[in-house]
Amino acid sequence: MSLQTSPIEASGLPRAIIGAIVNNALVLALIAVFAVFSFATPTFLTIANLQSILVNNFTLLAIVAIAMTFAVSVGGIDLSVGTAVDFASFAFVSLVLAGQPVFIAALAGLGAGAAVGAFNAILISGIGISPFLGTLGTLFIGRSIQQLLTNGGNPVYLPPTGVPEAFRFLGRGAIAGIPVPLVIAAGIIVAATIILTRARFGRVALAIGIQPSVVRYSGITARAHVAVAFILVGLIAAVAGLILSATVTVYIPSSGNAFLLNAIGATFIGTTLSRLGRPNVAGTVLGVLLLSIVANGLLLTGLNFYWQQVGTGLLIFAVLALSFINRRKATA
């Protein structure tokens, strides 16, 4: 539309290259980061380390970030994902400790996470509070409740011996050599992709995120869909809570909040760098991979641990720069 000729538009070849870079930005960024660390440190490109990235860095963050993706898809955000992780973890560990069957305890954990989501849904869809403020309130309330339940924040340990087999399997087992948490994460990735791209719910959710007034003017009750999205966030985050507590056999109050910022980062990296600028599961997962590799790689280079967040920050700036070029290209 604009009549001005941008420098990018001026010549054909550089434009094509920039276009290719921008359209595949996430994959290229992954390859670049991967290559840099492979050269920078000998231990990065080993089977053991790559496994460790997937198990220690990737799995739980991927699940929480996918949960976040549903909140972002309806144009919101959920600052209380960590609260859902914690509540699920608390219910799960407490019931296992009380001698309940693992299956029942796991269901209760999922229910606890979904309840956090339902609480958000009431605040946002029922009362009409903005997602940012509503879930911020939930975050604070959730933190207090956990402190009250644990006498001021004492962890709930499971005894080292006598942990039910099913519980151990969830955290440390393997199916055909693949760690169970990774299998579960893969299942959630597939299911979330299908819901967001092929289910009617996903289509409406994305439309709400893109232009809510049009959804309303099309005769669709947006609030109901937003409510379901936030309950889904709690439910999916609860899965991460179950895996977390099964892996470390302990519930530590408010530990789930550690995922919050990375989950937001990964989701927006994936959204920003997708072709249509829409929240999408594949983008989120690539964003999580990117963050995981940077975290692991920086650690291996022997850099002070405290530099890790500088890496994450720079990564987000790089994404913003790429998306800026992307937008210039789109409007040219």
Binding site: M1, I194, R198, A199, R200, F201, R203, V204, L206, A207, I210, Q211, S213, V214, V215, R216, Y217, S218, G219, I220, T221, L276, G277, R278
Partner: protein, 514 residues
């Protein structure tokens, strides 16, 4: 205090715009419009929607730059005006929706950006601010507004008073009023008119923009009529009348662009019985039949827009009945309205009609997704066929069904907005200004489409301020004025200026309506 002593010299022009041309994205908003306003007069500016009034005013305000033409202020030519420069030149704009931040206090709003300080200190001189504000408020309006009152607590009229006071604090040379009475009751309007006359007598030049031709007749010394981006006449009010102005506003040479077809009317599909929304419109009763295209028109504040919104469940009726196909319905939200086979094509197409960043297909099926869902999952094949089918039927010009609607022209976006309801199998279509911002070619296609819908037995209400359009495509026209149905026209027996005169409340017509 005298607000405008410097304007003692009444000869010469305060504003002189010559042959202004302005294009937006290829569409010509102004094609050589001129406006010459003599010092110390009240000058009316009228024209239908799209005639170029607001573009011309925005150019004068420095918000847009002209592509061609000359702007002279006080005999001095200016190449590049900025809003700041315009204010320095003593030109101020009064518009009901603009300028006032609701969370500011009256004092902050009045003195924003030019707060007087206690001499020699960085502190605001609150006493001086309060004194200067109350002087003007008391002298010109006879009201007292504490400087600490919040803007959001004020009535519309009081907000306007604050705006005018803000302008008067600067001792303006020119005051531009843009539809100032749209939200005022008659008594408040009278106060405003007295104020305008007094300011003129003190030497201030007034530009007065209004749809209400009776106000122009009552208030202005001269009037300039804009049509299709050009000035068609500048007249002295002593030598003309509201009816003559109305005639000038309406173009007559496009009658043959309306494909008129005769449809045999079917059963009643929509019946309104004494429908009212308190404060918006009262006791509207009408019947729409299958195959009928009903025109609806009225100015801002006439209640016509609110009537459409009520039917679609965006506003709640305070009394009265709506029946569809003889069954009483109560749409309290758009979802229920859509389930009753109602469809709204809203005026704000890019805000409410289409989702710009969804694809053509996603927009077309948004409202009818249930039909393309099996067990909660989308059936892409059916969705694509539906989109391709409607793209072909409505001749939507798009790079493909997967193109984002953002990439389509206004006319084609509008076709997508209508296609959404065809896909939903809607039966009562509420079209709110369906051809605003649409090029001539697409307009004719949309008129044809409306005819097709009627022929298939749909009932259609077209709300439009484009009167030749209404006369061209509808079976009858209902005019609302200040919340009431004042008259019904048969298109073949009326003219755009007669309809316009009725909807603007121009005195002679109202008299014979009684």
């Amino acid at each position: 205090m005298s607000a405008a002593s410097p304007a003692a010299d009444r000869s010469g022009d305060a504003i002189h715009l010559t042959r202004i041309v302005k294009r937006f994205d290829g569409a010509q908003a102004l094609s050589g419009a001129s406006l010459r306003v003599r010092r110390g007069t009240v000058h009316g500016l009228v024209g239908q929607n799209g005639a170029g009034k607001s573009t011309l005013i925005k150019l004068l305000a420095g918000l847009h730059q002209p592509d061609e033409g000359r702007i002279e202020i006080d005999g001095q030519a200016y190449d590049k005006l900025t809003p700041h420069r315009v204010e320095e030149l003593g030109i101020h704009f009064i518009h009901q929706d603009r300028l006032l931040v609701p969370t500011f206090t009256v004092g902050e709003a009045l003195f924003l950006g030019r707060e007087p300080r206690i001499p020699g200190t960085p502190f605001l001189d609150r006493r001086l601010m309060q004194r200067r504000a109350s002087e003007i408020l008391d002298d010109y309006f006879g009201v007292r507004l504490p400087n600490s009152a919040l803007i959001s607590e004020l009535s519309t009229a009081e907000k306007q008073i604050v705006q005018i006071t803000r302008a008067l604090l600067d001792q303006p040379k020119v005051l531009v009023f843009d539809e100032p009475t749209a939200a005022l009751v008659r008594r408040e309007a009278d106060i405003l008119f007295r104020l305008i006359r007094r300011l003129r007598d003190e030497g201030v030049t007034i530009i007065y923009i209004s749809h209400y031709l009776n106000e122009i007749e009552e208030l202005c010394d001269h009037v300039t009529v804009l049509r299709n981006g050009e000035d068609v006449a500048t007249l002295a009010l002593s030598e003309t009348s509201a009816a003559a102005i109305a005639r000038l506003m309406v173009a007559r040479d496009i009658a043959d662009m309306f494909p008129k077809r005769s449809v045999v009317l079917g059963k009643d599909i929509l019946t309104l019985d004494r429908l009212s929304v308190r404060g918006k419109y009262q006791d509207v009763s009408l019947t729409l039949r299958r195959g009928e295209v009903l025109g609806l028109t009225g100015l801002l504040g006439s209640g016509a827009k609110e009537l459409i919104r009520t039917l679609f469940g965006l506003e709640t009726a305070t009394s009265g009945q709506i029946a569809i196909d003889g069954r009483a319905v109560r749409s309290v939200n758009p979802a229920q309205a859509v389930d009753q086979h109602l469809a709204l094509v809203p005026e704000d197409r890019r805000g409410n009609g289409v989702a710009l960043d969804l694809s053509v297909t996603e927009n077309i099926t948004l409202s009818s997704l249930k039909r393309f869902t099996r067990l909660g999952f989308l059936y892409f094949g059916g969705e694509r066929r539906e989109a391709d089918d409607l793209i072909r039927r409505l001749e939507v010009k798009t790079a493909g069904r997967d193109a984002l609607v953002r990439t389509l022209s206004g006319g084609n976006q509008q076709k997508v907005a209508i296609a959404k309801w065809l896909s939903r199998h809607s039966e009562v279509y509420l079209l709110d200004e369906p051809t605003v911002g649409v090029d001539i070619g697409s307009k004719v296609e949309i008129y044809n489409l409306i005819g097709d819908l009627a022929a298939r037995g749909a009932g259609i209400i077209v709300l439009s301020s484009d009167l030749p359009e209404l006369i061209g495509i509808t079976d009858r026209i209902i005019v609302l004025f200040r919340g009431h149905v004042v008259r019904e026209f048969v298109p073949s027996e009326t003219s755009p200026d007669e309809v316009l005169a009725t909807s603007t409340g121009s005195s002679e017509t109202l008299r014979h309506v009684g």
